[in-house]
């Protein structure tokens, strides 16, 4: 589903991604781990299309299409979803209105009719229950005054409602206590499906106890330095990221 080849990206004068190669198939969950500043979040945002980055080399194929050639909203409409590490507040716009507008924008792009009121309401009810969220949250302004945990849950709710093909979760575990982490993980696990690929970006192994990945990649200095199965995450927890510096290949964490 997703094929990243030799991807280089820079922000202003700093090269952050220095040749990423990654292949993610539908139905798989990949974890991307790495120390701070390794380029994990940059990779997530480059996939979503954030305009602060310049792609200097490489290519990204998504569902057979050139992802880098697509507008941000086009990527979203084609099924790319990013759960933000820092969700943005939109004052005066209710969560419910926002969700409906997002669903209908994506439907419009795909030549589908707008969602009916009853379909929307029943879907929302189901997803709220899945994430243990109160429906009163829907009348509040998007992320405004939400606690850290509420924001993260709200991201997963959006993911559940938008049913993406490729979901990228950027540090979804940060700022969550253990209970919230469990609930959010259950929400994500419920969305695992043979048609969907999920990339989980995280600093800690903890999240991977709950969302068990098929593959784990270690990103350091803008490159994937190691890949393996879930045992790699445990090894990292055990040894920390310092072992990366001891390898034969000296990798400078930027």
């Amino acid at each position: 589903m997703l094929e990243i080849k030799n991807l280089h990206a820079r922000s202003e004068d700093t090269e952050i991604l220095k040749g990423i190669n990654l292949s993610v198939a539908a139905g798989e969950v990949h974890a991307i781990m790495g120390p701070n500043g390794s380029g994990k979040s940059t990779l997530a945002h480059v996939l979503a299309g954030r305009e602060d980055y310049e792609i200097t080399e490489g290519e990204v194929t998504y569902d057979g299409k050139d992802l880098l050639d697509m507008e941000i909203e086009e990527r979203a409409a084609e099924g790319v979803f990013l759960a933000y590490q820092y969700p943005v507040e939109i004052s005066g716009v209710s969560n419910k209105y926002f969700l409906k507008a997002a669903i209908n924008s994506i439907r419009k792009h795909n030549d589908q009719p707008v969602i009916s009121r009853s379909d929307f309401v029943s879907m929302l009810k189901e997803k709220l229950a899945l994430l243990g969220m109160d429906k009163s949250m829907m009348d509040r302004s998007v992320n405004e005054g939400f606690s850290g945990g509420e924001k993260k849950r709200n991201e997963i709710l959006q993911m559940a409602m938008l049913e993406p093909k490729l979901a990228v979760l950027d540090e979804t575990d940060s700022g969550l206590d253990i209970d919230a982490l469990k609930i959010v993980s259950e929400g994500v696990n419920a969305l695992r499906s043979p048609e969907r690929a999920i990339i989980v970006v995280t600093h800690y192994q903890r999240l991977l106890d709950y969302i068990v990945p098929d593959k784990v990649h270690v990103l350091a200095g803008g490159k994937i330095v190691r890949s393996g199965d879930k045992s790699l995450a445990l090894e990292l927890e055990d040894k920390g990221y310092s072992f990366l510096n001891e390898g034969s290949e000296a990798v400078a964490a930027s």
């Binding site: 305009e51 507008e71 943005v88 939109i90 005066g92 716009v93 924008s105």
Partner: protein, 481 residues
């Protein structure tokens, strides 16, 4: 960041959809202003002597005045002799039914989305259609008459209800009030008159739709609304004008009087032609609006959505005379392209336990300049008066400006005045977030801006809120690319 600038630069282009001209024969007087013109206008309207005298008094006073210069807007000097002060479409002097109205006029209103045939009209809204200097037609009059509500063109009220007009005309905005109000008092041509008798809750929304059509013509209308004891009325006002390269002057006066326990809700959606993207043309909207809460427990609310005009200069105000009376001002003012706005309110607390609320939302884009100017005055006898003001500004792009000029004067130690202000920018991160969820950039900006205005939309009558939302979206079209 350059991408953001490029994004926001495009904020400048927008299409004004009401810019067409109706080709209709008009009865216009030559340009210029002097006592004879004032007399001529009065004569055309067959006015009683007292009204002519009142006009002349205003005109003579106007001659002694100078244009105000304290506002934060800039424009070249206006040549008051170059403007036409009266223009009316030619038609039969007295219309008995809508069938006799020139179809071209009906078409014009149809095109503006204001059908005047009663069966087509939006449920429960009576409309007075004012075209240049005269009122064309007023719908639902019979229904209203059954409830004792008078809703008619101002010029007609002068003849049919002279005692009411004489009693209240100039009682809130005197003929000597300010430069533009004095000018209006001298040359006003028509407008709407509403009278809600004691204890009556007006059964439908009343509305006036103002249309400027003729070239080089000023529109000077006057609206007077009197709500007797225990009555209620909701009044809506809409405005449009053709696209023209010259600036046109619109200097209106609105007076509201609310007696004991009466309530007036006055809503405006102002969409005068704003000028083109270079700042050429557009309406100078210099308007004096004031309400008097004369009676105890009375309430006056002003809600305005100002999206049009090259320059907006208006301060809908409330004089809180009656004890426990309430004044409210909710405003959204948009300045895109080269538009300028200096708008706000005055809340004058005179009675005890009087309360006022001010919510002002200014949106600036392009090189638009948006100023909030508000005065809260608590007089000596206004024990326990309270005011809450909130002024928020939203900037789109980095070439526009937002300014706030609050004046507060408290002469009674029990007074309580709160003022909150904020300025924010439509953030690139917000747009990115919404686009990641599938919205186009334009929809994202509209969503952010509409969210910003929510508190004001919430108090607009439903049909107006929908229109306001659409208008705002059109105003900001192309502002972000």
């Amino acid at each position: 960041m350059s991408s953001e600038n490029a994004l926001l630069e495009e904020y400048a282009q927008r299409e004004y959809e009401h810019g067409f001209v109706t080709d209709i024969e008009a009865d216009s007087i030559p340009a210029g202003l002097n006592e004879d013109v004032v007399r001529l206008i009065s004569e055309k309207k067959n006015e009683p002597e007292w009204l002519l005298e009142w006009r002349l008094k205003a005109y003579r006073h106007w001659l002694t005045l100078e244009e105000p210069n304290w506002h934060n807007v800039k424009f070249p000097p206006i040549d008051y002799q170059a403007s036409v002060y009266y223009s009316a479409p030619k038609q039969k002097p007295k219309l008995n039914s809508l069938d006799e109205v020139d179809p071209k006029l009906l078409e014009t209103y149809e095109k503006l989305g204001i059908p005047l045939e009663e069966q087509k009209v939006l449920a429960n809204v009576a409309v007075d259609a004012v075209f240049d200097s005269v009122s064309i037609v007023t719908t639902f009059r019979e229904t209203l008459e059954k409830h004792g509500v008078i809703f008619c063109p101002f010029s007609e009220a002068v003849h049919e209800h002279p005692e009411l007009v004489k009693k209240y005309l100039g009682s809130v905005v005197p003929h000597s009030d300010n430069f533009y109000a004095s000018l209006n008092s001298a040359v006003f041509s028509d407008g709407s008159f509403c009278y809600i008798p004691k204890g009556v809750r007006c059964p439908m929304e009343l509305s006036t739709y103002f249309r400027i059509n003729a070239q080089n013509t000023g529109q000077f209308e006057r609206t007077l609304i009197v709500a007797e004891e225990g009555s209620y009325v909701s009044y809506l006002e809409g405005c449009t004008a053709p696209k023209r390269d010259e600036n046109q002057l619109h200097a209106a006066v609105v007076e509201l009087v609310a007696m004991d326990d009466a309530q007036i809700k006055y809503s405006t959606v102002q969409n005068w032609y704003p000028g083109d993207s270079e700042g050429k043309g557009g309406i100078y909207n210099f308007v004096t609006k004031r309400g008097a809460c004369r009676g105890a427990n009375s309430k006056i609310s002003w809600t305005q959505v100002e999206t049009g005009s090259a320059i907006t200069w208006k301060y809908p105000s409330v004089i809180l005379q009656g004890d426990n009376s309430v004044g409210e001002f909710y405003s959204v003012a948009v300045t895109a392209n080269h538009q300028q706005a200096d708008t706000g309110t005055k809340m004058i607390h005179i009675g005890e336990n009087t309360k006022s609320t001010i919510i002002s939302k200014g949106i600036s884009a392009g090189v638009g300049q948006n100023s909030y100017r508000g005065e809260v005055k608590i007089m000596k006898n206004a024990t326990n008066a309270r005011n809450f003001s909130q002024c928020d500004s939203l900037l789109i792009g980095d070439r526009c400006g937002a300014h706030t000029f609050p004046y507060i004067e408290v002469r009674n130690t029990t007074g309580k005045v709160e003022h909150e202000a904020s300025t924010s920018k439509v953030g690139e991160d917000q747009i990115y977030y919404l686009r990641q969820r599938g919205l186009s950039t334009e929809d994202a900006v509209n969503m952010i801006v509409n969210g910003f205005c929510k508190e004001v939309y919430d108090v607009l009558p439903m049909e107006f809120a929908v229109e306001a939302r659409k208008l705002l979206n059109v105003s900001l079209e192309g502002s972000v690319g």
